[in-house]
Every structure is written in structure tokens, then in C-alpha cells.
Amino acid sequence: MTAASYPPDLLYHPDHDWARIDPEHPDEATLGITWHAQDALGEVVFFEAPAVGTALTQGAPYAEVESVKAVSDVIAPLSGEVLAVNDRLSDGPQAINEDPYGEGWLVKVRLSDPAERDALMDASAYSASLGG
């Protein structure tokens, strides 16, 4: 298990989801769950992905992560449409534990309202919200 980390280049949703917005493509984002989320879940055994094309709404569930302890909804930090799903998670869902911000990414989306990013936290605010 990796040590706790909250990269400064990501945006954070209070339900423990992150979004990475590439400055070159400000209308697209990669989404995932935070180190804190995967740590609370424990060993992830299954990721139930949405279909490509699914519409996401900020704050609403769009996928499920199943660990040995629980099945949890994954909450969309931003609204948009799913462009791609991390297919490698179907054979290796443990990437969500091992590399939550890299190999463990969940989906890529085309944002329907990029201004929603203003409602998200930066790494230090999110870190502080965890009481750490």
C-alpha cells in the first residue's frame, strides 16, 4: 500500500473523488477516487464502470467500487459525458489501491460545464477536510 498523497495538480470533490483537467484540453477531465477513499475501502476487487457515452452529473453516483469490505458508489466530481473507461481495471482492479492517481484512473469525460470546477477543492483544502 502506498503512503497518503494528494497531488497538487488535481481537483478534489468532498466525496473523495479527484479530477485531472489537462490545461491543453480544458473541456476534458480524467476522474478517479482519492488515496483516502481507497484506503477506507480496503482491497478493491471489482470496478463496475459506466458505459462510454453515459452522462455524469456533478455530485451524483456514476459507478461502483467493490472492495472486500463494502460496495460504494463513485460520485462524479464534475458533469460530463464518458469518453473512455479504464478497461485494465476489469482484470486488475487493485490498480485503484496501488496507484489511485495513475494506473487506477476510472474514466475520462468531456465536461458539459467546465465552470463546475470552481466548486472543487485544491489539494491542501481537501487534505485539511480530512482532518490531517
Binding site: 471489482f46 463496475e48 461502483e64 467493490e66 469490505k69 463494502a70 460496495v71 458508489d73
Partner: protein, 461 residues
């Protein structure tokens, strides 16, 4: 405690918490108490009014069947290790119970030709309803299309559950009288079936054989369900078959007929009639539905020393999940009944279940031929049947049943009394098991023939 919370009496506590309008204004209308010994006598007298399947010659089936239960089953069921209904969450002390679940799942999976089976649910009708919920979780659509050939109790249970799921149930009739479409009478109306299934259909249910004993064209129904939705938006509906496991020795397995989920009443497998329960429901599906399966699943694994062992698997789906996404866990106390099921299947064996099916096929054919030769008795439909068939009497069925009962014969179910369908008036559903011999069938023919003749005489007079 009363003093600590500041009330004077239990009565006062209730009065302060419960609005007067919902309280009882008068006492319950119950008789005076009786001494224990008198109660025992009273109950004994009531119990003596029951007629068991061993006290009469019974051809009653309609979902529960009077098959022979070998002594082997009682011996194993009474072992104290198996008596606890509690879920074996601690594999280190539960290997026997877990292995039973695993062996049971293997048997059901082989029988249905579907790759995953759970360790059973409550009973047949709730298995049907749970399949509806699986479909809702799978595709989120809201319409359930159901053949009228499902057992009426299953349709009623599905309707009850569907209300809570926010789903609607659409019933598709069977082909009725032997008119232009006489060949199909007694089977699900394939045109109506296709017409009822649209892009908003979550699941489509049929029974094999259906409630009236008719063998359905399972492949045609499955294919039609998938084709009907193919032009529409999204995925095809989940095709659910309600099967009678006893018939799977001679019928093509649901998994080979395009069925996605097979459910059924397990009672016929090693469980006695027992006044209608408890029993168990079987539930098997294609692998894509694994994570939506209700109940418990035991899995095979190896321990740290590499030895074969068993554990509960996927239990987070049942227990540790948001309530509206959870699968059903109404299954705990059925493990003992499912144990009887797997022992029964092992006792019959691969050859035995085929031989039993062939025996039932021959006896049912003989019974149908013999009974439809009686005056005033005809076949309600002429579809192939395996262990049960529907007759049509031209006189009052309830009156005929009463006359037969006086002769110690239960000729079968008054279909209309259960379904309330006008087209079922005069319908009698006759079931066979290996316990009903050819001689018994001849006796039924004598008694039923006399009863119908007597009723016809009454009507004519």
C-alpha cells in the same frame, strides 16, 4: 425505568406516545383462556381434520409435488451440524455447511446449464421476484413482461415486489381456444409476447413447463424476447425462465435455450409437502449477472497450506452496500431445505433424474389418455406435457372434487379457483409423481368418471 423517564405506568407510556385514534377502543375479540390440557385436545381435533397425501390418493400438484423422499435425506438433515440456519461467515468453523452450499450450487448449475447458481433463496415465487430485481439492477428499465403461464402465486409475488421497485408488470396471455391457432393453445401467445416487449422492458418471464403443464417453446420465447427489443434503444431484456427442476432430466436445459436467469421452486427435490413449506427457491444465471445475484454464494478456494476449502464469496453485495443497491438476502434458513435438494439430486444421480423424467412422461401420457376418454372430460390444451396436465370438465369442478374426496381421491387442482380466469372455468390440473402408479391412475379414472357422471346427472335433472 418508568420512574426514570417520568411516567407512572406502562399504560401511561403508551397513551402518551400513541395517538388515541389508532389505539383499540375495546379489547380483542378473543375467547376465554383454556387449560393447557384442553388446548392440546382442541388442537388435536383441529389437526385431525387435515388430510395428508398419505391418507388419500392425491393428484394435486400445481407447484408442490408429492415425490418420494428417501430416508437418507432425513438422516442427513437431522445431523446437528447442519441445523443452524446462520450464515457461515467464519469459514474456519463452517467448512461442512459451506461445502454443502458449494455442492448444491454445482448441482443446480449443471441442471440448468447456467454457469452461476446461488445457495438458494426463500422459495419459488420470491426467486421469480428476485430475478425481476436483478434485471432492474442490470438495465434500470421499468417494465416486466410476464407470461400468464407462470404460476399465479409467482405473478402475484412479482407484482408485490415490482410495486416497491417502481416497476410495472405486463401479463401476456396464453393462446386460448383451439380455433384458427389451435396448434398453439395452452402456450404463451408468441405474437402478444413479442408485441409486449419493447425498449423499456427490463425482463421477460415464462414458465417451463407452464402452470397448465404445457411445454413451452423456450428457444422461440427467448429469441423473440431478444429480437423484439433489438430495434429499440439499449439492451435486450433479461430472459427469465421459471423451471420445474424435476423436468430438467428430459427437457433441454434453460441455459441452452437462450435463457439468462433460471429460477424455480425447489420443493420437489427432496422436500416433503409439509403443509406448503418451508422449501427453497433455486436461482441460476449467466456469468454477467454474477454480481446481481440475490442471496449467498459459496466459493471454492485454497487455504494458506494449499488445501481445498470453501468461503462465502461476494458477500459485500448482500450486506455491505447501500440498501437500494443491495441484493436480496432472504435466504438464510433455506440452507437446510437446499441440503435436502442436493442430497436428493445426488441420490438420483445423472441417470436417475433422466429415468425419473421418462417415467413421469410415460405415466402422465397414460393418465391424460385415460382421463380424456371419460365422458364429460377433455384436455384443456393438447400441448406436450411431462408431469402435469390440464383437463376441462363440463361440470362444476368443486362439486366433482368433493365427490372424489369422499372416495379418498384428490383428483387435482380446481384451476379457476386459483387463477380466477374465466377461461379456466371447468379446469382441473392433474399432477403425477413416481408415487402414483398405473393402478392409481386407473382408480382416479374410475372415481373421476363416476363423479363427473353424477354431476352431469344432477345438472340434467
Amino acid at each position: 425505568m418508568l420512574a426514570a423517564i417520568g411516567v407512572g405506568s406502562l399504560q401511561e407510556l403508551f397513551q402518551r406516545q400513541i395517538p388515541a385514534a389508532v389505539g383499540l377502543s375495546a379489547g380483542l375479540d378473543l375467547p376465554e383462556g383454556m387449560p393447557e390440557q384442553d388446548v392440546y385436545t382442541h388442537l388435536r381435533e383441529l389437526a385431525a381434520r387435515n388430510v395428508s397425501a398419505e391418507q388419500e390418493l392425491s393428484f394435486l400438484g400445481a407447484g408442490f409435488y408429492d415425490h418420494y423422499v428417501p430416508a437418507l435425506i432425513d438422516m442427513l438433515m437431522e445431523r446437528s451440524e447442519f441445523l443452524t440456519p446462520y450464515t457461515p461467515y467464519q469459514p474456519e468453523i463452517s467448512q461442512g455447511g459451506l461445502q454443502v452450499m458449494f455442492e448444491y450450487q454445482t448441482a443446480i448449475s449443471e441442471l440448468t446449464a447456467l454457469p452461476v447458481s446461488n445457495a438458494s433463496v426463500y422459495e419459488g415465487p420470491s426467486a421469480v421476484a428476485a430475478a425481476g430485481y436483478l434485471a432492474k439492477l442490470h438495465n434500470g428499465k421499468r417494465r416486466l413482461v410476464v407470461s400468464a403461464g407462470l404460476h399465479p402465486h409467482s405473478i402475484a409475488t412479482l407484482r408485490t415486489y415490482a410495486h416497491g421497485y417502481g416497476m410495472e408488470v405486463v401479463e401476456v396471455p396464453l393462446v386460448q381456444s383451439a380455433g384458427e391457432d389451435g396448434d398453439g393453445a395452452g402456450r404463451t401467445d408468441l405474437d402478444a409476447w413479442s408485441a409486449a416487449i419493447d425498449g423499456d422492458t427490463s425482463a421477460a418471464f415464462f414458465a417451463q413447463p407452464n402452470f397448465y403443464g404445457a411445454v413451452e417453446d423456450a428457444e422461440a420465447l427467448s429469441a423473440a424476447a431478444k429480437a423484439a427489443a433489438s430495434g429499440a434503444q439499449g439492451s435486450a431484456p433479461v430472459v427469465v425462465a421459471q423451471v420445474d427442476p424435476i423436468t430438467l432430466g428430459v427437457l433441454k436445459a434453460p441455459g441452452e435455450c437462450g435463457v439468462d436467469v433460471a429460477v424455480g421452486e425447489g420443493q420437489a427435490l427432496g422436500n416433503r409437502l409439509d403443509f406448503g413449506g418451508p422449501s427453497f427457491g433455486l436461482f441460476a444465471a449467466r456469468e454477467e449477472h454474477l454480481r446481481r445475484m440475490p442471496g449467498r454464494i459459496a466459493g471454492e478456494t485454497v487455504d494458506v497450506d494449499g488445501r481445498r476449502g470453501f468461503v462465502l464469496t461476494l458477500q459485500t453485495r448482500e450486506q455491505h452496500i447501500r440498501r437500494e443497491k443491495a441484493t436480496s438476502n432472504i435466504c438464510t434458513a433455506q440452507a437446510l431445505n437446499a441440503l435436502a435438494g442436493v442430497v436428493y439430486l445426488s441420490w438420483l444421480g445423472r441417470r436417475g433424474i433422466v429415468e425419473l423424467g421418462e417415467l413421469l412422461l410415460a405415466r402422465t401420457h397414460y393418465a391424460r389418455e385415460t382421463l380424456t376418454a371419460l365422458d364429460g372430460v377433455s384436455a384443456l390444451h393438447s400441448q406436450p406435457v411431462i408431469r402435469e396436465f390440464a383437463l376441462s370438465l363440463d361440470v362444476d369442478v368443486a362439486a366433482v372434487r368433493r365427490r372424489c374426496a369422499r372416495e379418498g381421491v384428490n383428483p387435482g387442482l380446481d384451476i379457476h379457483a386459483l387463477t380466477g380466469r374465466e377461461s379456466d372455468r371447468g379446469g382441473l390440473l392433474v399432477a403425477l409423481t413416481e408415487q402414483r402408479t398405473r393402478k392409481d391412475i386407473d382408480r382416479l379414472a374410475d372415481v373421476l368418471g363416476a363423479a363427473v357422471a353424477a354431476e352431469r346427472h344432477v345438472v340434467a335433472a
